[in-house]
Amino acid sequence: MRSFRGGVHPPYNKVTQDRPIERVRPPERVVVPLSQHTGAPCEPSVEKGQEVQRGQKLGEAKAFISAPVHTPISGVVKEIAPHPHPVLGEALAVVVEGGGEMEDWPRGEVDPDSLEPEEIRMRVREAGVVGLGGAAFPTAVKLSPPEDKPIDTVILNGCECEPYLTADHRTMLERAEDCILGLRLVMRAVGAERGMIGVEANKPDAMEALRHASDGEVEVVPLKVKYPQGAEKMLIKAVLDREVPTGGLPMDVGVVVQNVGTAVAVAEAVRDGKPLIERVVTVAGEVGRPGNYLVPIGTPFSYLLEVAGGLQEGASQVVMGGPMMGIAQRSLEVPVVKGTSGVLALRALPYEEGNCIRCARCVDHCPMELMPTLFVKFAKGERWDLLERAHIMDCIECGSCAYVCPARIPIVHYIKLGKLKVRSLK
């Protein structure tokens, strides 16, 4: 089966894969950060005390690499102030109070082949769609490849290689037709001839649903079950056997990759004019009712965890995302943002950093074929110049190295530190 070199096999713990997506009743107060994406934060387009309708824009994207944000509930703007943020620590956010039931967004009509690429890009941008896999890169930017980078293939990423997470799995199963529509729209926008969907082989039902929905026009590619199969570069390698050059982007090898959840958001944005105001979040681990929830953006973690049955005895860590790359939270008042694929309640294990025994497990498992041993050595020795020469900037921070390290060295910590230093010295 197609795959890539290196990687690890953590226990998958996908206990929520059979739980259908369940819509969460919106909280009475949502906190919508103005920065939920890679790139420039957007600027508030509402004022304190203003009444807003569900789906109305709260922040306008002024820069090219940016995305607007919208309110998931109707109500009144209570304040625009810094609030805890699950990725940035703290960021400016618009607080809306209101609430009520969440109804289905009215469905529109669209024929992907009759739309101009520019029209698709505009609607996607207006809807504030960003990559839902975790990195939250503005999708409209990805749909605007420069003239000299022709795109021949669009790959939808349905790997979901992070343990626990099943949001994409459920999305593929329950929203297969929208996945395919989203894929067609993305192909149309970038002028690609070929559409493919890479799915880890442990989701045969999702593959079947996608094949059925696409009438065989889209190639659904089963991939080896191995972390980080869903990393963009690993996915392209596995599906097309193309290597994104170091420091490069998928478009350098004629590819655009979108997460399956993003494809659904694109379909909704273009067909229904629906902004990105809710997303599927897997809540799992030590909670009473683990599952896949359709959550309004801006919902505090504390509210979502209550909906999911509350934290159970022993939970000592709350992570946004998967256990391999997710971010441990210091407060449960942080809101669900566009990049929140999961909220996990874990039992944190005390790991003590030991001496490196040079066993080279990190080297053997690095999917980017780097030498994490050098990163740790040079970061500890503050040799930032050597770090760059050891290709630290190629690291995708997947955490495979630290996962297998028998000395429990927090390698990703040293890498993040090293990257920060290398960037700041430029």
Binding site: K233, A328, Q329, G354, R358, D364, M371, G399, V412
Partner: protein
């Protein structure tokens, strides 16, 4: 809940294998070799094991106290060094010499460099090299297996100085004179296979090491079988099996790159054959590994892999 949340950098889960489990795996893999050693050399083997362990463990504990660090006995690395050292010493070596060897192995071979992971040379072999230099006669006095402890020559010495071959079956089983834990090639092979199949060590070095010795040893033998030992003899005699599976796989003192590990194995293999056939000593496993330990930093430096997406 709030305020008691554990905040740590990702990943938030870890593989089961930690340093202690790796060392435990090595110890378990050594059991067949130890059993064979005790079977053949009786209480000599037990005294040797106890003395070496006492030496390595006390040196490790003292170093931790001197350096005001928490005890590292629990990582079991000093125990591995102690057992390995005992296995590469003559069974009748006096207990005080074995103890001293253990102290030097961990004290000089490991702790002066800063402890686990910092040393350049294999600590057990540093201990053995020290004893070789300090007590050459004690270190080259060999006995035949069994309760009598009759002095004999090792198969390699017989081959080197008298051109007398030892039956391969004896070498395989281990019913020959030699170091306590080196004589039974079969027991070591079983343990070694367990070691690599369970993922405690990488297979690349044993494979390339043994393969190089076999191939290189076969060339002179093909021309003058009366004068030179067969490749099978090379593989089964002396300390090669123990060295290839358990000494040359010490991660600390061997390369971290895959290409580097092949280079290490091939280099050590060449050295063994050269020393055995043309050197002054009958056996060359210890020096082959120590010499390759010395060039390991160099090998690592020149075998850095090209990253994914780089120009190959």
């Amino acid at each position: 809940m709030e305020g008691r949340l554990v905040v740590a950098v990702s990943p938030h889960i870890r593989a089961e294998m930690d340093t202690r489990k790796v060392m435990m795996g090595v110890l378990i893999s050594l059991v067949p070799g130890i059993v064979a050693g005790v079977w053949f050399f009786r209480w000599h083997a037990l005294v040797l094991l106890a003395s070496c362990l006492a030496g390595t463990l006390s040196a490790e504990a003292s170093a931790c106290i001197l350096r005001k660090k928490p005890s590292t006995l629990g990582d079991l690395s000093a125990a591995v060094t102690g057992v390995l050292l005992a296995m590469v010493l003559p069974p009748t070596l006096p207990f005080w010499a074995a103890f001293l060897g253990g102290v030097v192995a961990v004290g000089v071979g490991k702790q002066v460099f800063g402890g686990l992971g910092q040393n350049i040379f294999n600590p057990a072999l540093v201990g053995r090299a020290f004893l070789m230099a300090a007590f050459p006669v004690l270190m080259t006095t060999w006995v035949a297996p069994g309760p009598e402890a009759v002095t004999v020559a090792t198969p390699l010495a017989l081959m080197k100085f008298d051109h007398k071959a030892t039956p391969l079956l004896d070498l395989l089983v281990g019913k020959v004179g030699g170091c306590m834990g080196e004589t039974s090639a079969l027991a070591l092979l079983i343990g070694g296979l367990f070691l690599v199949l369970k993922g405690y060590a990488d297979w690349r070095i044993p494979l390339s090491y043994l393969g190089t010795v076999a191939v290189l040893g076969a060339i002179p033998w093909a021309f003058r079988p009366d004068l030179y030992p067969s490749p099978m003899f090379h593989l089964l005699a002396g300390g090669l099996m123990l060295g290839a599976w358990f000494m040359a796989t010490d991660p600390v003192t061997t390369p971290v790159t895959k290409v580097g590990r092949y280079m290490f194995g091939i280099g050590a293999g060449v050295l063994v054959v050269v020393i055995r056939l043309w050197g002054g000593l009958p056996e060359g496993v210890m020096y082959s590994i120590l010499l390759m330990n010395a060039v390991t930093p160099l090998i690592d430096r020149y075998t850095v892999p090209v990253p994914f997406g780089g120009k190959r």
